[in-house]
Symmetry: D2
Subunit: 257 residues, 4 copies
């Protein structure tokens, strides 16, 4: 299991509160939480790395990509986003954390606006387990709590999830679908809400447990599907076929993209 | 019901076979098929129009957008694609025809590669109705046939459709999910396979009936949701709330995108 | 639009608190809330009626069936349940209220255990709108509140809903998917949580508004599909076909059920 | 991995063609195909066994139940069906074969009529792979064929599958969703069409490969969720709560079912 934790690494450089909590960057703390499971080989990459650390080669050896972004979604190069999507379609797992609901790869995988409502008041959040036997909640009882966090509220503008794993209750009176799964191509996708940068949320033991559970859940099945939109020649049709009528494409030509 | 039929209008200019079949452009023939229902106000727009005919103003007065593209998917400006998506999320219906499986708006709404296999041999296609009571198949019995067409085959790399309305049987031995629905935001989406440009498919009476049925099915519900990711101030929380801990955003500030 | 409100009508006979709140039965109050929209023709039926008021004839002239049950789920005759399911598959809308999560028709339509957790403490509930443009929430702003109610909590053991319309926040700290939609056959199904019998919840103006919205949303499309599992004779196959090999069924015979 | 293959075992006793093909019963041949993978412990049970071989104890030690029925669906005792459903909700995989589309457990899990159209003419079937990287199709290229089989045709009256793994093309001109997946509770469900009793289909090496792949795919995740609809006392609410208003239930009482 090869995990790549991608961090935007901007707040940590610019905001002293965030730097104090995450002196080595949020990505390092997230990675250390996942690496508590010794079976995982965990690497990190950031926006500032060449190709954002998301080269074709780096993604080819990644089983699950974990993404945290917030202040610089628009600085992620569209070609990097395209490479991430291609790997997800092949089977790479993708875990979007907190403010990554607006990250380019997540929005592109969802096809919706991914908007929320929000409030930054350090209030309490309780995450309820919606399916106690789901692999992502293994080891958690009925719920877990985060004492101080930013609120995200409904409506959350996503396509209907395949499964809802967590729904949050907030002290200020709001609710949110905080843990949701989808599949796009062969890639399993998990959105997980916790993670506001001015609180030490990625040190929370249950948050780290969910990260490890989710990484294990999102690992690709062995097969890999690299789709290619092939032209099937008429003489290779499963049933005998005589070509009738005009054609716009030549034999063996590729289709338009 | 205000319908906008968008045509790429490239093959018609360059290929004499297509021009002979569709002397006024494929979009005109598609539009005339839809306009057979007198309740619809049908307009057309093409790639060559200013802003491709997809200005904010044009989209605001469109209830359902019908899209045909093939040779020039990559020439559609990304900002036009963004405008289309925003309107779909608000509630505009979107109908993608045939080779528009690879069109930018459709791919962006799906979040998958949208690949297929294909064969251009003028073979016979039989479209089976998968739900005889679905509004999109009203007036069709168990199936309908197209005598000469291009084949599209599985695997079709789409997210699981909300409903499958048609599955095609091909003379050469292949099958395809030819009529599929999804919802993204509040917009209803229908993919409909028939429509290869070197055959007179948009003159086929049942194809035209499906277009009209689909337009009626895809019309927006009255409400319109323009989402905005609002910050909810702590003193407007539904429950009394005391602000605790540090903050990264100022009161009233917008979130990062 | 012909609406049938089905009430179990047991608590009202046995419990003085419920009788005081609903002297004419809960079904009557629910029906009066729906009938505020003059376009609806609203009837009622109860467990005590012959065939529970759910004869084939009664269901045939019902567009949307609204169901409230609690203490006597097991007394609903299995054949009545079968008749309800058949009509739902044909297209009749079905709205299950509150404790009807455990009603026979709802459980049979879902195929899951439909379990919940619960607490009866008269606490406050706030129902958040998850899609502000959904027809079922028309006329409601971001949320609405019920001051005193029983709590239902996650996990709610249902198949993934097509859409989640409401999620509830409870004073005691729990959450629940309070408004969910599905489609089974051609019938649209809506589960709506509010409605505990010892509080006057079906007099709440927003609850009544949701009931009217839901009835309108659940109305059948014009087509009706009565499926029959027909044997298609070989000589009526769309493609010419020579019968090969042995057979277990005679020509024209019906299949096993 | 403990697999239980359930066979109705009626045709084999009554019809000489079926007896000749499956002298030890269809269940034995199906079981032998699955047992080719030495990791599986495979048992069989039949309608004629006590409790149909589906006692609580037998199901408790079953990870995946494979079901073949046709002529005697109605003879399966409702309580056996209830026990199967409870185990599926806990996590047991369930694989329904061919005519088991009308079996009681499958119909109850689906909540729809599960009807089809059909034709018994010994025609050719070609099963197309709709997702080449799905675990259930591992080892299969683009499609596989069965030379002589009964036809099942659309419409197939099921709820929208989570994933479509196979779509069939038939010589006589029909199509069918031949491999479909769902999840109900924690149980993974797979419907697989091949298997008409008067042809030796369960000796077909690719059919047997699919059975093994499907069993592996359907195995339960480690957790087990036995739901119970618990009453949560007010003094155990996560937030401090004062009981307000009347109650219908006593403290500690169970809810109605």
């Amino acid at each position: 299991m090869r995990v790549l934790v991608w961090g935007e690494n901007v707040h940590e450089q610019q905001n002293p509160i965030v730097r104090d909590i995450y002196p080595d960057g949020m990505h390092s703390t997230i990675a250390s939480g996942i690496a508590e499971d010794g079976d995982f080989e965990v690497k990190t990459a950031t926006l500032q790395d060449e190709q954002h650390g998301l080269s074709k080669e780096a993604l080819e050896v990644t089983d699950v990509l974990v993404w945290w972004g917030h202040a610089a979604h628009g600085e992620v190069h569209p070609e990097a986003v395209d490479r991430v999507l291609s790997r997800v379609w092949e089977g790479m797992g993708f875990i979007a954390l907190h403010s990554s609901h607006y990250s380019r790869p997540f929005m592109r995988l969802m096809g919706t606006s991914c908007s929320i409502t929000w409030r930054e008041a350090g209030e309490k959040e309780r995450l309820w387990v919606c399916n106690p036997a789901h692999p992502i909640v293994r080891g958690i009882d009925r719920y877990f709590e985060i004492q101080n966090t930013e609120m995200y509220g409904e409506p959350f503008a996503i396509p209907t999830p395949d499964e809802i794993v967590f729904i949050s209750w907030f002290e200020g009176g709001d609710v949110f679908r905080s843990g949701c799964t989808w599949k796009r191509g062969n890639g399993k996708i998990f959105y997980f809400r916790p993670g506001h940068e001015v609180y030490p949320i990625y040190y929370h033991p249950t948050v780290r447990l969910v990260l490890r559970n989710a990484v294990r859940w999102a690992r690709p099945a062995p097969g890999k599907w690299i789709d290619s939109c092939p032209q099937i020649p008429a003489n290779e049709a499963p049933e005998p076929l005589t070509v009738k009528g005009p054609r716009i494409h030549k034999e063996g030509e590729e289709g338009f993209r």
